[in-house]
Subunit: 123 residues, 4 copies
């Protein structure tokens, strides 16, 4: 059990959602990259505003579409990052927990969550 | 040639981008729905801010992913609307123009723009 | 009205689907590239068989996934080609027909078909 | 370590690709559902042949597109199934192995493979 992949306790918390304020608030897989995610999302927000401005100024529809496609791509990169962190923290954490506890239920739960999230992205 | 599908002149302007005649500013296919597009984009901007807030508050990665997928879907709806308007205004306008002028070049140009835009969305 | 963009009559036939055998059977937009499409589809069929063989031989799941992604990409290229031809033949043909007849209904119909098809591809 | 989630040995084999021990051929995550996958792929192969037949018979482009979209959807379902099994077998197996060995390298490798595969599907 290493800090790198989170702890079994963390994995459980993710499932139940009880994030009772604790001193080690860093319970999420993406916390280490939190600033990077916030920066990316702020840039995406600016891109959306830019598209609104283009519509406001009656820019050519194809140019607007190109910008919308760029936003989609940026969001895909965010999704992929979050998914990778879900797998490397939540799934792996649950797997290691189950190894100790002998209960595989939590692992299946985390895997199915990942699978459902991927399915939503593919649609 | 009807107002519904734009005029040949409009179609040409789209290509060159010179929208200097400001009195008839309504040269874009999406202009009629401009307010609707701006409302939608403003809602999407709010959704992006909401995702940033979730990351800020260390929300569960899967819940963040669900919201990101919702933004992608909303952007797809915007893209689809813009594409439909490009086809029904720019392509159709160019087709009707070419019918009069006998020059099919502008039609091919508009069709290829549509096709390239669809390709960018599929990626 | 040129052979390049189909005839108004063709556009109408597309809508009703009555392909009563005629001497000029080349009524579809993709007919000129028919052999190219059949070759591509035959290659895709081979790719699907290849994936089945990989599963049969217990190949590594990630390698199977890579091949499935390649098939999806090949199908996207086919879809994009068909869409471009729908727009450049059916939509443009209907636009030119409506220019003569003054009836824009058929144009709207073709545009909406294109839009619905793009929507299905984005999902 | 349970049969349900594969063994650490399996996870290692996936990485190296040496599946020489043929008596226990059931080393892949999808092996249990192998017949189901083969049936699905055989149906997809038939769908591709059906699209070729539609092109051969000059069917309406939009109807061909609808069938191509259905194939894409069927392939997405296959991809999603394979991904879920990669995560629940290879990633989880590696996580449990690393718990015993203390070496997290193989876990990171499996997670990155999953992430790269998801990225290919999103494109």
């Amino acid at each position: 059990m290493t800090a790198t992949y989170g702890t079994a306790q963390e994995a459980t918390e993710h499932g139940t959602g009880d994030t009772t304020e604790t001193t080690d608030a860093a319970v999420r897989g993406y916390t280490a990259d939190k600033d990077a995610y916030l920066k990316r999302l702020s840039r995406i927000e600016g891109q959306v505003r830019g598209v609104a401005r283009m519509v406001e100024e009656d820019k050519y529809c194809i140019d607007v579409l190109t910008q919308v496609a760029a936003i989609n791509k940026a969001l895909h990169a965010v999704s992929l990052g979050l998914l990778e962190e879900h797998i490397s923290h939540c799934v792996v954490g649950a797997a290691q927990e189950s190894e100790a506890s002998g209960d595989a239920t939590v692992v299946q739960e985390k895997v199915q969550e990942a699978s459902a999230a991927i399915g939503r992205l593919l649609r």
